[in-house]
Symmetry: C2
């Protein structure tokens, strides 16, 4: 890759680091670095301290693997939630997206990854055994699989489904269909086909 | 603005800080924060240390206001450069862009800003007096104005031109015209008009 001479080793190192963020190129990284250079030193200290504090301070819930600041997970410890349903998601971002809908009040299992032989991630790298143990305690009645619909997601869903088959727990997946606002014309055939097969009674 | 509940104060503070970068929204900031969360702690330390070191370590050349790591500016101290020409630019990024062309071998004057009454930036906030003093030393024969062609840029160019008028130094601006690869059809009338008036002898 073409590398610019920044005339400053310090600037170059900062740009290198910022450009390591996902989807950030060297041009954007330089822009961010120069912005931080113009900021008062106290603001830049706050900026880096917030990142360091997050990295060192954040804990993960031993039960659902969700991010939490202290020993008690805000979701697992919420007694108003339905403890008989567990939604399996890949990452914290999915939890935030589902929480935003306000439609789900059960618990979660954050996998923190997805089965992907290409990236060297196998079933044992994910807390799937832990999920099976949670189910074995008997309180959980339904597992909702909410993983991506790519190959890795489907593989992981199938693997979890098989691991849970013996337990007799109900396993469901979130509904796939045409998204609100999407034109039928531009919906891929597979999604549209699934949407017709899984049609629901019209209700208002 | 709608603010998400991140279920973690530490994550929220990091996202707040990252979202303060120019052009970074909260969705991207969350993506960067979660990336940093997944990275080994040592990498995150390197990331923040590089930014802190840059902010505290970078110096500005007392002569041209260019960024430099130590007391000597890599451009001003380069004896192979033409010391009779000074190119006036708004920011360090412009220096890097011009240096990339390999077509310029003179010195620079980085203004570090632009005259903008809207933002409360007046001529005295920029090193224009310093530039006049540099010219007064007698070594400089030409000043090239390479500022943006918006209102602030034109105002600043005009102001500098007037301040230098008495010194008898030659003042030029970079050529404006149709960029290589641009269609005439889509070039604005002002640029195309200027490009015709300032036509040059064809050469190969």
């Amino acid at each position: 890759m073409y590398k610019q001479n920044y005339r400053s080793k310090l600037l170059e190192e900062a740009v290198d680091q910022i450009a390591s963020l996902p989807g950030v190129g060297r041009k954007s990284a330089l822009r961010y670095a120069l912005h931080l250079l113009r900021e008062p030193a106290a603001n830049v200290e706050k900026f880096t301290a917030a990142i360091n504090n997050m990295r060192t301070g954040v804990r993960y819930c031993p039960e659902c693997n969700m991010i939490c600041d202290d020993a008690t997970c805000p979701i697992c410890s919420d007694t108003s939630r339905d403890r008989t349903v567990v939604c399996v998601v890949e990452s914290l971002r999915d939890v935030l997206s589902i929480e935003n809908t306000g439609q789900y009040h059960g618990l979660y299992q954050v996998l923190g990854g997805i089965i992907s032989p290409m990236d060297g991630v196998g079933p044992d790298d994910l807390p799937i055994k832990h999920l099976v143990e949670r189910v074995a305690k008997g309180e959980i009645k339904e597992i909702i699989l909410a993983l991506d619909t790519n190959m890795e997601g489907e593989t992981t869903s199938l693997y979890i489904y098989r691991q849970l088959a013996a337990s007799g727990v109900k396993v469901s997946t979130i509904a796939r269909g045409v998204a609100f606002g999407d034109d039928l014309e531009y919906t891929d055939e597979f999604t549209l086909g699934k949407a017709i097969v899984n049609r629901q009674l019209f209700s208002i």
